[in-house]
Subunit: 510 residues, 2 copies
């Protein structure tokens, strides 16, 4: 479809231009999601105008189409944490090496990826300075300064910022990049129970970002000891799954740091009994990775598919003026449609460009993933209706202009729900229970997300990793879901044969 229409559109343009337009707007992807997922993904993020590749490997330009998604999620999350009395702050990008290295496990986790500034202008710095990979060690010396008594608690801060992790393996837009945007929350409490409670409150917000905004089903659970945050007490996460690659992906994490950082950074306080006590800390973050997961889960061979709640443009209105038709009438109807939708709080735009055909525009906005297209041609004008076409399932229907707003509302709600339902069906179809090593290996080879009974021993997880190591990566634990199926007495660990302690999700992952 895209090809034919695009051809028609470009008859007036020079050959040079035609080629470039084709390349720039990516009418049609050259790779298919089912056939070459990696290529398809690299292509769709550019053709959908989310990303531009940058001349430094692993860094990407986030284009306006990306930023509008990010800003919508940010508005939601920022308002929610403000309700929780968490306050925004901004700590420096730079960390001095002494502070960075204070927590041993933590720095071991991050050291290989730290970027170092050693020069300014032509001069060498006296001491190299690190760029934050995360801000625990940046912030906690000041927590120690600010927290004296129990009345200074809880201390609840958040910052929206960029962080740098100079990874060398497989840079992938959104998913694994050397610089990314995120929020990082850092909180300190007098009692462990308060910290535990907040960990789950934040995790629930992350679930809502994925499920309610991005229409992606996630599993809430706890990370294994081996996979938890370096230096923390325990890590909870929301885990998504990409059926096409059979890989789990950590969606966002909410850590209880326990008192480990408090010890290193001497964050103590006088409690209400006048005794010296140590704070309990959390840290939690979600990043622009969310957007990559959304692209992977919903995108198709025509381009992006954006859930209405996060789409910068929810409805694109396209005039279809045949020759001799009442062009002005059609354009006015488009204008009125956009106005009516905007006034009702929808994000709608019209595409009035006169150098592209309607068909070209259909393909263009499909590539960009706009959830609903409205076409208005002479017949629609005559019947006082518009034609609506859904991006997710291509369903078409005519809507009387009198009931435009309510029907668009219903359709957008339905698209949002339907994207989630389809994604959940696809994800659920990938979940496989494995009780033995053979079942586990078979499921792994079939790209499944494996739910297996496990003895919960770190050595066994390391052993599974070693035994499944291969070109496409080893299997590891994704999480132990909070929602645990019944574990029959006597159930054995699929890997060690020891008594199983819990059900855990395993798989390859990003």
């Amino acid at each position: 479809m895209a090809g034919g229409e695009a051809k028609k559109a470009s008859t007036n343009a020079s050959n040079r231009k035609k080629k470039e337009v084709k390349k720039e707007t990516g009418l049609g992807l050259s790779s298919k999601k089912d056939e070459n997922f990696g290529e398809w993904y690299s292509e769709i993020v550019v053709s959908g105008e989310l990303i531009e590749y940058y001349d430094i490997s692993g860094c990407y330009i986030l284009r306006p189409w990306t930023m509008s998604i990010w800003e919508i999620m940010q508005a939601f999350f920022d308002a929610e944490i403000k309700k929780m009395k968490i306050k925004n702050c901004y700590f420096p990008l730079f960390v001095s090496p002494g502070v960075l290295q204070k927590e041993k496990d933590h720095i071991e986790g991050f050291a290989p990826e730290v970027a170092w500034v050693t020069k300014s202008g032509q001069s060498d710095l006296d001491v190299p300075i690190a760029i934050r990979p995360t801000s625990e060690t940046v912030m906690y010396p000041y927590f120690s300064k600010w927290i004296r008594g129990h009345r200074d608690l809880p201390l609840k801060l958040n910052q929206w910022c960029n962080v740098v992790r100079w990874e060398f393996s497989n840079p992938t837009p959104f998913i694994r990049s050397r610089e990314f945007l995120w929020q990082e929350g850092h909180t300190a409490f007098a009692a462990k129970e308060e910290a535990d409670k907040e960990v789950l409150e934040i995790l629930e917000l992350y679930r809502r970002i994925y499920e309610d905004y991005l229409a992606i089903p996630v599993i809430k659970g706890k990370k294994s000891e081996h996979e938890k945050f370096a230096g923390g007490l325990y890590t909870t996460s929301v885990e998504a799954f990409i059926p096409h690659t059979g890989r789990g992906i950590q969606g966002a994490t909410s850590h209880c740091l326990g008192q480990n950082f408090a010890k290193m950074f001497e964050i103590d306080f006088e409690n209400d009994k006048g005794e010296k006590a140590m704070v309990w800390q959390n840290s939690w973050a979600y990043s622009t990775r969310t957007i990559g997961v959304m692209v992977m889960v919903h995108g198709d061979d025509k381009g992006l598919v954006l859930p209405p709640k996060i789409a910068a443009v929810q409805v694109i209105v396209i005039p279809v003026p045949y020759k001799d038709a009442d062009t002005k009438g059609i354009f006015d109807a488009c204008d009125d449609t956009v106005k009516a939708l905007n006034e009702s709080g929808f994000r709608a735009e019209a595409d009035f460009r006169d150098n592209y055909s309607p068909g070209w525009k259909y393909s263009h906005w499909e590539m960009k993933g706009v959830p609903l297209r409205i076409e208005i041609g002479p017949k629609d004008l005559a019947n006082d209706q518009v034609r609506a076409v859904r991006r997710d399932n291509s369903a078409k229907c005519d809507i009387p202009r009198a009931s435009l707003v309510e029907q668009v509302k219903d359709m957008l709600d339905d698209i949002q729900q339907s994207l989630f339902d389809v994604a959940k069906q696809n994800r659920d179809a990938c979940v496989q229970v494995a009780k033995t090593w053979d079942e586990f290996m078979e499921a792994l080879n079939n790209k499944k997300m494996i739910l297996a009974p496990w003895c919960d021993e770190e050595e066994v997880e390391k052993d599974v990793k070693a035994r499944t190591k291969g070109e496409i990566g080893a299997a590891k634990t994704l999480c132990s879901p909070f929602d645990q199926p019944a574990l029959d007495e006597g159930t054995l660990c699929f890997a060690s044969g020891k008594p199983a302690k819990k059900w855990t999700y395993w798989g390859r992952s990003y």
Copy 2:
């Protein structure tokens, strides 16, 4: 006042705690604005809880009290530029050296301040990578890629981000820091007139930030050739003035870059006649420096003075429960007052802490600059009124609770206006016309902002700089105001004696 009340407040606290509380909340500043401005400023930004000094020189922690001001300005500016169809994006923090050095004048302006990443983990990078001091050279290679035809124009982007300028002279919180937050807009147009128009539209938004939000009078004008943006065509700015130091301060800049960067980065397009043409570009920015100017202009010896429009807390409500008074009744009245104000859209909070006296709280919130304090004691409760105390002029009045909301609204409006009026009076009192070199030098020694007739020759400006060089810095041009007084025929340049071309503001500056 603060001293006496604070003493009373701390009778129950341990000596150790008392000292720390004193230190932490800064009840009373040890330096006076009139006597030692530099010390006063260093102290007030910490005691007012805007800043915490950081262990890397020239980097500062922006505390929540700062971020709430920043976010309010950001919400205003972001909404305004979105109305202008400017879209947010995010380009990488890192620049490769080849691209950075493409525009010669530009890199000469920034090179000494560029921070370089040369290592990741333990490995040396093949090529050192720069951290953006500003993003012209980061963005414009992609402008060249994205702009092909006249229909791709205008291209209007903005980003909210951090930038790094590794300056070595006099780091000062907000005013001169090695990392700061800002927005940077980058736009490209087909015609110079469009670019010129936008330069002024943006400048007007900057004026509104200063005058309408921060209550600081600024002068709109054009920078001299010597002071314009490195690599640009011309620079416009809003200029503020700090009477206490007699220094001008560049508030924000809106540059027309002309076609200079377009040439270097080959940003050309096919115009509507099918000819190859070069784009016209602008860039414009304001930063967290705005907050420093606000502190300097409005702050006093009791602490910060925040204009109501940017204060995180506009009204602080403090219960004053004398012994034997109806404490619950007073607390309830405080609660009701906060609720009524919040529901009417004001940012109000109550300070119910039981370990501080009312007097201590007065001093604390005065230090933090909250525009209006409401006190509720037994007498107020009995008379169904509250007592309101203005931060800016200490004026007190009783408000019947029946008219609370409207009177608070009027008072906040009046405080906002009055802060501006006083600041303008003070600024205007510093403006001095100088027509001769002697008048100029006298005014300069008297810390004036000097309006002088000038021949507009770069050599003359350099000469003035050389002749006024001294410990506290040389005089330079601040701007040539758009609002030019009449220039009588035959008026001569104060410095060169050549015919004057325009009136220009001169002075020492930050």
